[in-house]
Symmetry: C2
């Protein structure tokens, strides 16, 4: 039974037997598609324990209700009936995302002096053809043969079989497992809640085996399964059509001619690669360096569900770190060497287990569990980042891609997976992509994307060079001859070798020059010869280590991890967002609505603004308790209550969200402490301890709540 393993493979066609792997020979980046697919949720622990104490069982409907009510996010275009997979962020969600991204910038870009870029979403088809997305960035879909309703084939098969297994469990009187609870939403639909029916042991085993490989079936194989297992449309029980491939990119036309096809980028990465030469120059021609980009990407999912976790438009943050393939050490590895992570290596998965190994990254690299220092450095930095913004460390793991799940050019790939009520979700991918991307763009465009390094001493090297028959070449191509020669001289080793093979097999090749001219060059005019030359520079295509973050997934997981309800009242939800990340840091609450307090409230509000602390005034008619509850739901860590004592004594009380404990102090003193906790270097938990040391406890707390 390979159930455990299956649950971890999110990517279709990725763990096929070797004979089905032909496609990957054409160098398509399977990874690209995989990264933000989700692992189905079959092996997770009960995800109901947030960081803070929670006396009540976790209820996803409750937190999702809260998040929409408080406008963290909401389905987009609701008045128009909504569009699946499109969400708008309201003020708290938008600011939370901004704060996460701000921290991301500080943690990655500034800390490691990366080159931030912003490239376009609209991408010409040619570029995505080269990267492989036009041909391979697809899912399989099937239709209800009568109504035409559309389903993603693998998801439907998965949901139906999961519901049959659940029905069998019920019939056998086995309690539903957490895996059942988290299984695909589809399974929860009325038609999928089959009446308790016991399955034969054979059938049950077959179902488990199918689920274990659900990510690996081709379309025709899914079609066979649908017929063999008598899977039908969930609502109507109609037959399903043969699965067909659907490209997940949004297509459009650029300009008015109708001749320039474009797509919305499905990732930001290609925008980095096509700018490699400029980025290299910006970094004085030296490696290693990294480019970073935060921006929107778009995927036209067949049937998006699962809230913010599978959407059609989302914010990514991607780093492309360029490194010498022969030296993947990292200068700052020593700084993280002793940092411990929880690993789920491929060999553990291969043996059908999911137990995590806790190891320092230093040891993991030494023992070759993680391929190299640079990859290891980023894994540690990702772990530090996620914990810093508030991800629960007990619900975070680093899962290695299985050998058959990884594109063949990648030497190693790890996902940071976060556990939520939807299961273990891939939120960050971190892959060593070797030289793939730069190579394919270089081959396609004839532009060298390489690093040149001065060598300390001259070496001899055998390389390919184009040799022209000048006598024939000039007269044949006339004014274009020079341009063709220049184009050929600009080709790198790989391109020349392709060309040589083509000349040999077909006797002719076509050259596209920089002015877009296309020329047929025959074998009698051009030979590619191997020559040994002396060189004092080394030229190579860098390898790329790519940490890639799905911000919406991290944000949603964080919200689940931070959510709990007060013991005394299940309806009082709290979001324990860390103060530096919380959208609003301070709620200012005037004790009464009289005009007497207004000038002081304004003064405090101005002081907070000057100190760079986001605050909000709630001078509504609601009771103080209600006002605080509302802001507990917004994750606001502090409340400052302004009362008549404030006018008389210049003091205010400071309430902490999680403990509801109140302290009292002079206005400036309180603001300084809040500033330290929210914006300073201090850890926020220690920060509150600090506040307790510096400020007096306020005894009036009972009166207010």
């Amino acid at each position: 039974m390979n159930l455990t393993c299956s649950s971890l493979l999110g990517f279709r066609q990725s763990s096929k037997p070797a004979h089905l792997h032909l496609r990957s020979r054409i160098l398509f980046s399977l990874l690209r598609r995989r990264r933000f697919n989700m692992s189905a949720a079959k092996d997770q622990a009960n995800p109901s324990n947030p960081i803070k104490k929670n006396a009540h069982p976790f209820d996803r409907a409750q937190i999702e209700g809260l998040l929409i009510k408080r406008f963290f996010y909401a389905p987009a275009f609701e008045h128009y009936g909504g569009v699946a997979g499109l969400y708008d962020f309201g003020p708290p969600g938008s600011t939370l995302q901004s704060n996460i991204l701000q921290e991301w910038r500080r943690h990655f870009i500034i800390e490691d002096e990366m080159s931030e870029i912003e490239t376009t979403c609209i991408t010409p088809a040619d570029v995505l053809k080269t990267s492989g997305h036009v041909d391979k960035f697809t899912d399989w879909m099937t239709r209800d043969s009568k109504t035409g309703d559309i389903f993603r084939a693998d998801h439907l098969v998965e949901a139906v079989l999961a519901s049959r297994i659940a029905a069998d469990r019920q019939a056998r009187g086995i309690q539903a497992s957490s895996a059942d609870l988290a299984s695909n939403n589809l399974a929860k639909k009325k038609k999928l809640k089959s009446a308790p029916v016991k399955l034969s042991d054979d059938t049950l085993a077959r179902y488990h085996s199918i689920l274990a490989q659900i990510d690996n079936y081709t379309g025709p194989e899914l079609g066979d399964l649908i017929r063999a297992e008598n899977i039908r449309a969930p609502d109507t029980d109609n037959e399903l059509t043969e699965p067909v491939e659907f490209n997940l990119m949004f297509e459009s036309q650029i300009g008015p001619t109708g001749q320039l096809k474009g797509y919305l980028r499905p990732e930001t990465a290609q925008g980095h690669f096509v700018n490699f030469n400029r980025l290299l120059e910006f970094n004085n021609g030296r490696l290693p360096f990294a480019s970073a980009q935060i921006g929107k990407s778009f995927r036209n999912e067949i049937s998006p569900k699962q809230g913010l976790l599978r959407v059609r438009e989302f914010t990514m943050a991607e780093i492309e770190h360029y490194v010498d393939p022969s030296d993947k050490r990292h200068e700052k590895f020593c700084e993280v060497r002793n940092h411990k992570l929880k690993f789920l290596p491929k060999d553990v998965q291969a043996s059908g287990r999911t137990d995590l190994i806790e190891l320092s990254i230093g040891e993991a690299v030494e023992r070759q569990i993680v391929d190299n220092e640079t990859l290891g450095y980023f894994l540690a930095r990702i772990d530090l980042f996620l914990k810093k913004i508030g991800i629960d460390p007990t619900r975070l793991r680093f899962r290695q891609h299985m050998s058959n799940e990884m594109a063949h050019y990648a030497s190693d790939c790890w996902d940071a997976e976060i556990l939520s009520s939807y299961g273990w979700i891939e939120c960050v991918g971190c892959a060593d992509r070797s030289a793939y991307d730069l190579t394919v763009h270089s081959v396609r465009t004839g532009t060298k994307l390489v690093v040149r390094e001065a060598l300390r001493e001259t070496i001899e090297q055998t390389i390919s060079v184009p040799v022209f028959d000048k006598k024939v070449f000039g007269p044949r191509f006339k004014k274009d001859a020079k341009l063709i020669e220049d184009t050929l001289s600009g080709f790198d080793e790989a391109r020349l070798n392709c060309l040589s093979a083509e000349l040999e097999s077909k006797g002719v090749t076509s050259i596209i020059t920089s002015n877009n001219g296309k020329f047929e060059v025959t074998a009698d005019l051009l030979k590619i010869e191997r020559r040994t030359i002396k060189q004092n520079t080394r030229e190579y295509t860098p390898n790329v280590i790519e940490p890639s973050f799905g911000i919406g997934r991290i944000l949603y997981s964080l919200l689940e991890h931070c959510f709990w309800t007060r013991e005394e009242d299940i309806n009082r939800g709290v979001l324990s967002l860390p103060p530096p990340i919380a959208p609003v840091k301070v709620l200012i609450v005037p004790l009464s609505g009289t005009d007497v307090l207004r000038p002081l409230v304004k003064k405090i509000s101005n002081k907070l603004r000057k100190a760079g602390i986001a605050s909000r005034v709630d001078d509504s008619n609601a009771t103080i308790g209600k006002r605080y509850s509302r802001n507990d739901e917004l994750g606001t860590p502090f409340g400052i209550t302004v009362d008549f004592g404030s006018i008389k004594n210049g003091t205010v009380t400071l309430r902490e969200r999680d403990s509801t404990k109140q302290l009292i102090g002079r206005i400036d003193e309180v603001i300084e402490i809040v500033r330290e906790i929210c914006l300073g270097e201090e850890n926020s938990d220690k920060g509150w301890e600090l506040a307790c040391q510096k400020l007096e406890e306020y005894s009036g707390v009972q009166d207010l709540e």
Copy 2:
């Protein structure tokens, strides 16, 4: 001769004679299209004086070359031949934009406690049909009848006539004016550089008259002009085809069915309006409040030129400020009352002049030049923002829309225009959009988008109410009857009045219910009656004041304003970006490449990072002078030189970019001064004076440069 005026009207179809204005009766927002069109450049002063001294004449090719070389931005997908109107931002451009946006957030969102949101780029066609974009967001295009090359019709006519006028001037021996220099790029093409030919006075007058109205012609009118003035395709001299309308939105399909058409948003505004009810609730149901959004918008321009000023994908920052239509005062108007702006009011333009009036915003509102306080408040805040980030005050003006240029529902509209080598460019629009947007969405979806306000005393009011013939209604619609009644009861006054008119004229109307059911309701079943009722709440649709920023345009204009060349060497360009906005604040320059200095360089770099100051180390082999020059081009305001004295004495020199003056001080002291200037509240110019007071002058400057 109405040349002056014409140059200011950027929007097609906007200043037509009244009889052509029929279309606007259907409430289409002409403004929406207009905002980021450019004023053609016919009346500008010579834009060659940057803030700083510039001994050499301004040369656009030089600055654009510098910006691309230093990778502020670059044409996207260059290796693939590029795509017109798509640009990528490299590290300095991306960081500069980030810094501008950060300042924008501080200046607008935080200062006025706005609700920041992030809504989707992908927008269903229905929403943009309602807003008017599907029908009217268009330009006219014409083709070369033989090659099929495409031109934007109005731009082509403009360019050809401008080139003929220029040729006439040349023939008459009149020196080319700055207007000629800045005229459309097209005119510079070979075919448009007509040999000097003198025109008759009549022809000349007619050309000027056409140019004066170039933004107002319909497609057929442009077709007539092309024939009458014998305008032909520039490169081939072929005939041109009849102009056809081209919608400027990128179209795509959402989901796999092919039945849900979507567009990329051409502005962020609609995302605000459709979320109005949630935003109102988030603000405790009270007005005024504002929502703000920073994000990408997309316009499929016919033939984009002019660098960053007319692109197909760009970042906007938009504010929608919701206000009671009966009270457009602004609480904080007193804070800006005395702030002076340069106005170009509509009556001045109408009289054919462009002289600016300098007035305090208080006086402008008092004299009713600016319609109301809220609009005035934002104009002043826009002015303050633009100057703060470094826009040259002498090249900034606020131009009012002409009455015939403004959509009829708008009570007032002003553009912040910035002068660059491309002419006066609209960079910020600021319009009072009345209740238009909320009304159309409400009418279309049947969702109330209103504010309810408790009244101090009950009032009597006559309103429209739907009255059903219940006896017939129930049996006719059976289970749907209740839903239809509810839908009708939810309609606001405007919607009910439309309905009443329809029932009266056609005897039938169709109702779309919340579950997307469509029902025909006839006049015998439903009457809309006017009834007088007592009310203790007031219900109204807010008006919207909309400041809308084109960030790329502001960024490019700023770069032009900050650019100059050193007197001693025209090839040494400098970008005098204000320190708080500059992408990198400090260049760290080790005097020699020896390893001895490395630890100290790293220490200083770490200290700067801890202080939140972006820095870069340049330890390349180039001379100190070259390294500084390179960073002058990047706009880096300060250089810290580390030498052997630094190790010995703990001192470094601090070089200021514009003056190249050097001071010397202890490391921590120097860092603190840089921090104050770059991140403190201090004005940056004063900041350097402060530095000069605190640190000693360094006499070694001659040795280094």
